[in-house]
Symmetry: C2
Subunit: 335 residues, 2 copies
DNA sequence: ACAAGTATTGTTATCGGTAACATGTTATCG
DNA sequence: CGATAACATGTTACCGATAACAATACTTGT
């Protein structure tokens, strides 16, 4: 096993100093074009591979942007990640991904770990964090972005929307269609705080609209998905007839609910309405299409990228920026 | 903005040498317990954050495992990633993720980029790579794992299954149920080589079973998903009646096909059978449930983790290991 | 032909840990 | 009590790239 090829080796082979090699490989204009060519060629011949770790160490710039997601296994978060990833491509930043499993404690652990890699910015999903996380982050002079939420007391920049407001749109829509007895299907535990916001958005708006109290149907601990939605309905048994509409925390849950309702011979939307959240692909492809809230998952990632690019290119950082990407009601056939 | 706190600062504050701090923070038993305690306490007080970049540089061990996935936005790959991530937790390795968008050229670019971070191992999805990628990787003395496939000429270790064989199981099942006129719905272009293997698995087995030639129905360039499946069926129009079964490259595609068939008033499986691949959640929740191939996405990741842990703990590396996790027919209600 | 300016290359020190080796300090025992 | 081992800590050099500064090699105009 031969020793690693370094710039020194390339330099020796070409007959220049390592510094010139360094410049040439970074495409520094000041290096004579012929020299540059020669260096690149020799580097390729020797199988030289640039060492980003050494660069990161010397320049104190890691080239990393740390990202925490509740779950990687969620089409919307995955889309956001892609938007961010694609958007940051030009800047050469690499994403360091961690997933919190919808728990702020796990997030804290992750943040601690990610910080040891010296990220140049950190992107968090949601606006809820442990005190320790907040402390860790504010102790550093590091651009912070929170996304998928509009926190009241943001840590830094924000790209998100109001979950409660989005849910309110659904409730209003249902109320206007004459649905009165609502059930909410979502994670029951309090670890998924985004879910809690959605739930509260539903109950608050229902109260405001003078609807009867919304019954909370427990789909188990976060993350909840299709099968949990189906389970809630089958557990309800005939009681499902008590509801005019089931409002679900997400489209996958709504799809599970919808499928199980149909298995039970219920007519959707005739007997009961079902709504989702997130405008996942399944919402628009399923038959019937699911009424949902459209959130621009990919755009959130792209906006975060734009924001970061701005910061990295040294633009004036006039305080913190808050981008509300909003949300919209997407009418399907289930309501 | 105060300068960064280093081990030197902690050492000064405690009155020991930086080396002792280094040892204490890594929980070296040789450091006196009282000293260790003091050091940890002072480190916390000063807000010291360990610099993994410096460590990686000095020890020439990055603590990274590089992973390439065709797409992060795919429940199965996401599961594999989680299995891998969870499995590697104990070893303290961090995953560096890149996505290839189902293109080997993109993979090459990614590999090039990832290698500059000095990963201690690299995990690739699939067994197809450009020559350049193969060259880059074999030039390094780096553990390589290919997953989700059983390549004929593997680069290193393998954790996967045979896509062609899995498809053959479906075709056999369909033939035995009396379905003769098959259509295959998948990405048409040749960039998605795993998709190509599945397709060839179908056509080969159909020929073997004496079925008429399988018609290839183009769902567009990879990645293909629910909407593409639906589009294929709606583009077929009444021609859909020509088929006894539509074999789809994945469950999401099958779900799109299924939904569109139902919209057109077709009875599934009465008029036509539909099969998927991957045993995604949608397959088991949808009504009717989709017949599919069960692959143990999470287990693949876990097995890769086990394999890597083994290598990292210095176990004898007797050649390359090949783990066939197999696949199984999951009978649903669409066939 | 020479000064002044521009283009190109080189030198030195350094980022923050840690391996390898050296040294000091406290127990243990004949 | 002195020698030896076991324990605890310190010293030095270095991982590979690059910022800052220095030096040299060309141009150009007069």
């Amino acid at each position: 096993m031969t020793a690693r090829v370094t710039m020194r080796d390339v330099a020796r082979a070409v007959g220049v100093s390592p510094m010139t090699v360094s410049r040439a490989l970074r495409d520094d204009e000041t290096v004579n074009e012929k020299t540059r060519h020669k260096i690149r060629q020799v580097a390729a011949e020797l199988g030289y591979v640039y060492d980003t770790t050494a660069q990161a160490f010397r320049t104190q710039k890691s080239g990393f942007v740390a990202v925490t997601l509740p779950s990687i296994n969620n089409a919307n978060f995955a889309e956001t990640f892609r938007g961010l990833s694609d958007g940051l491509g030009p800047s050469g930043m690499q994403l360091l991904l961690g997933s919190t499993n919808y728990r702020v404690e796990k997030e804290e652990e992750l943040v601690r770990q990610l910080l040891t890699r010296n990220p140049e910015a950190i992107v968090l999903t949601g606006g809820h964090h442990t005190d320790e996380t907040r402390a860790l982050l504010s102790a550093r002079n590091l651009p912070i972005v929170e996304m998928w939420d509009l926190p009241e007391d943001p840590l830094g920049h924000v790209v998100g929307f109001s979950n409660a407001e989005a849910m309110a749109k659904l409730v209003t829509h249902l109320a206007e269609s004459g649905r009165r007895r609502l059930g909410y299907v979502g994670a029951s535990d309090l670890t998924d705080l985004r879910g809690a916001e959605r739930r509260d958005g539903v109950t608050a708006k229902a109260a405001e609209q003078g609807l009867p109290e919304v019954e909370i149907l427990d789909a188990g601990p976060a993350p909840v998905s299709m099968r949990h939605g189906a389970q809630v309905v089958s557990a309800l048994g005939s009681r499902v007839a008590d509801f005019d509409a089931l409002v679900c925390v997400s489209d996958p849950v709504a799809f599970g609910v919808l499928s199980e309702c149909r298995r039970q011979g219920l007519d959707v939307p005739g007997d009961i309405a079902v709504t989702g959240f997130g405008n996942f692909e399944v919402a628009s492809v399923s038959d019937p299409r699911i009424t949902t809230i459209g959130v621009t998952a990919r755009e959130i990632g792209e906006q975060v990228a734009v924001l970061l690019e701005d910061l990295f290119s040294g633009n004036p950082q006039d305080g913190t920026r808050v981008v509300d990407v909003g949300s919209r009601l997407v009418r399907g056939e289930t309501s």
